[in-house]
Symmetry: C2
């Protein structure tokens, strides 16, 4: 499962907030924190390097229980007073609290797992954490998990180490909840979050952030997402075995004259799911749950359309036309507004070079649906099943591998206002995205039973999530983006803003 967050920045529509570009140092009301961040920098970099050396990969069942144990240790070292392993039906989570005696509490979401990798594709070993020169950026650490998500998370922890080293009380209490299955679409994270003592602690918070480091290197801007589409990933499979027609395995293709074909049945079933152009979901009743964008959401998208560049986006995507030749703003509206059924892959029969005279015994489409409010995984799955059954495709298997519903957070929530205030104070341009087209498990916080604001937040820069040579910027030579020390001070500032925001 790879519903990654890489696509968020480019995928999301965004309104513009914040002041002129150029990072500035964050505030330090105690005048002790900045020196502590400076003094702790080498240790923070070393902490990131060591964490990268210890990958946890759920898809490969690798790095457990070392991953959660290490995560717990990281939390305790950073000043959390308690940290415990929380079991789930899958990999365990970590739950930690830091009671600063403050009035407000902030929730922090970490993932301690990373995406799979192939060392052959990397220019330096993916677990080494080598420091390399990135022209136009500065010195960056290369390693799996560098930006997704250990770099930004280590940056956040560095802020806590600075408070601890400086002997300064945090302005907010913290509740940390970490999972080790984010890269397989968080199938059990709800169990961890809804563990009564975890949920009770989170309920006291003003909202939850996951630390990020996605400043745009050209503008320094960050995107503040107010929501994201949900995603449901599944395979649709037709097999002779299940169908009771067609062959059990591949047979000679001349038999097609008298034997039914699983691939043709898959084509027939697929063609009922969308309009002939593939662009409108036709699953019975699926549109009933779709809530139209609000005027404010449309306004934010219109602002984004004016402030962003269609040509470079098309070029980057290798796309010359949007659906129906729509314009830039309409494409951004659609990105936020419509649910989709996407074919990620088709696999049936012979897939090598040339041909092979077989009538295949099974055929599979790898599909992912993107969901918008108020769609849910459960309702969508039930409607898909009913849609297929009604058309005589009861044998067509739906094997869901992961997913979560859409998430939405109020622009007026204290969390988002604190984010905006931090950006404004630091002079970092911030764009408000009403809904990212990419997906993340925010709904586990924003949906029932918690109903908390939740989003991504942080400064600094990295790239290459899920790709080779993933990196996170340590020392910036680019005036638009922060290095790790400044990004650490950005979190310091944010904690004070959260404390100050009514």
């Amino acid at each position: 499962m790879t519903i990654d967050r890489r696509a968020m920045l480019k995928a999301g529509a965004a309104g513009i907030a914040g002041a002129a570009a150029g990072p500035v140092l964050a505030a330090d009301p105690t005048s002790k924190l900045r020196p502590a961040v400076e003094a702790g920098h080498a240790a923070a970099v070393e902490r990131l390097r060591q964490w990268i050396a210890l990958p946890s990969i759920a898809a490969e069942n690798r790095g457990y229980p070392e991953g959660p144990d290490y995560m717990r240790r990281l939390a305790l070292d950073a000043g959390f007073q308690s940290a415990e392993i929380v079991p789930s039906s899958g990999k365990p989570g970590v739950f930690a609290t830091l009671d600063a005696g403050a009035k407000k509490t902030l929730g922090i979401y970490f993932m301690y797992d990373v995406k799979q990798y192939d060392p052959k594709e990397w220019s330096s070993p993916p677990l080494e954490g080598r420091i390399v020169d990135k022209p136009g950026l500065g010195k960056a650490m290369v390693g799996r998990g560098a930006v997704n998500q250990k770099g930004p998370e280590t940056t956040f922890l560095a802020a806590l180490h600075a408070f601890k080293a400086a002997g300064v009380k945090l302005p907010v209490n913290l509740v940390l909840v970490a999972e080790g299955e984010e890269e397989i679409a968080s199938p059990n994270f709800h169990e961890i979050v809804q563990t009564p003592r975890v949920a009770a602690a989170l309920r006291k918070s003003v909202g939850v952030i996951i630390p990020t480091g996605w400043q745009n290197p050209a503008t320094g801007a960050v995107t503040l997402a107010l929501g994201a589409k949900g995603a449901m990933e599944f395979e649709l499979t037709v097999s002779g075995e299940k169908w009771g027609r067609g062959p059990k395995g591949d047979i000679h293709s001349s038999e097609k004259a008298r034997v039914d074909s699983p691939p043709w049945r898959l084509v027939a079933a697929l063609s009922t799911l969308v309009s002939p152009d593939g662009n409108t979901v036709m699953i019975d009743g699926i549109q009933d749950k779709v809530v139209p964008l609000t005027p404010r959401q449309r306004e934010l998208i219109a602002m984004t359309a004016r402030a962003t560049d269609e040509t470079s986006t098309k070029k980057q995507l290798g796309v010359t036309r949007w659906i129906d030749d729509m314009d830039w703003e309409a494409s951004l509206v659609r990105l936020a507004q419509v649910p989709t059924v996407n074919i990620q892959g088709l696999v049936a029969g012979y897939t090598g070079p040339g041909g092979k005279t077989v009538l295949p015994g099974r055929a599979t489409a790898k599909i992912e649906m993107r969901l918008v409010p108020d769609m849910t995984i459960e309702d969508t799955l039930a409607k898909l099943r009913a849609h297929l059954d009604k058309r005589g495709f009861a044998d067509v298997e739906i094997n869901v591998s992961g997913g979560y519903g859409p998430t939405q957070t109020d622009e007026k929530s204290a969390l988002i206002r604190a984010e905006l205030a931090t950006c404004e104070r630091l002079g970092v341009p911030a764009t408000l995205a009403p809904r990212l087209a990419g997906s993340w498990p925010g709904v586990i916080f924003t949906g029932p039973p918690l109903g908390l604001p939740a989003g991504q937040f942080g400064f600094g820069h990295g790239s290459g999530a899920h790709a080779p040579d993933e990196y996170f910027l340590i020392e910036s030579t680019n005036p638009k983006v922060m290095g790790m020390k400044d990004a650490t001070m950005g979190f310091v500032d944010f904690l004070y803003q959260v404390a100050a925001t009514a």
Copy 2:
């Protein structure tokens, strides 16, 4: 391309002719041939072993010009007075003649190429030609090309060596035409056959056979095919590049909301080609060329239905029901009667385990159509193109990799009568198949401009064409099937029957 002939025996419907089972020695009007076959047996086996050691594989561009050179040498050694390499746009053919001063001439079709193989899958090296014990059969030679087609071809050549060694004149003249691209669907064989001096020589023949060794080990029966469906193999591809819509390469799947999808377009295009159940070809005008089966063809199929076993066929195929739950005879009729569009494979986007959040830039269906008289490759391709264009799919690419039209030979032709007479004399049960569902390039002889009878003929047994451990029976311990010596005498007998058939 692998429109193989393996499927023919099980795929074809057949009428029953011939007498009781059990091979008997072929006639030897000179009483010198049988001893010569016996004396030459060891040399014939060695000839097969050496030929297997020299594979020609067009798909891998391997074994040329060694293959055609060796083929030419084999012909000259067997008594052909002239043998020459005939160039084509692809691999060269071999054309050889043996003038016995006889009244009649028989055409012989050889393929000197073999199918690809993976040595890892074999229990003895595929080029070694090792002799192994096959329980219930006898001693067999294992090697690539053993049954498809070097074993039967070497058996035929052994008959000619016997005539030569015995100093006996052949009862018929021979015209041999060999190709080296059968396994890639004979894309250039028509050029070789239509080379004026080759066509002129063939025109004098009563018809053309390719030597086979497909006696059923349970019954000893052979199938005499009166025709075979044609086949056209191609890929249908939708790409963002060609379409001008969708992405050029794979992009993040969240973009589906605003970017067109090549896989969905492929699904839409495919769904127009067949009825919703996948069983009737719906390409505009394609049914116009389909000639209904004659009463005699239906009669032969009915005879086959009565004489053959539905249950074991279904079990062998792993199929529990025919299309529309039709009965055995109806399934045999459909096998002979209807053109088909079969999906051999589907390939798009991510095809590995689990999912991957991509919107693919291209999608391909590997298709093969089976053609019946009077369909042709050219007409079928033109109709497919027009069908897609009319529905707005002009960008959908059709990449034909090979194929040939259907072939049909008159049951009353001298060639078929000589085959039947040989079977009857030798007590080998023969079933007449009006049309095989599998395909072979017989149309190059039976179609314009030659219009000759053509078919497969021979005795003996082998199996595993295109598969690992392909073998050909050398010494039979099974009273139902002939070993190589008896099969050689079968060809001797056949040559006399051809000479004797008016």
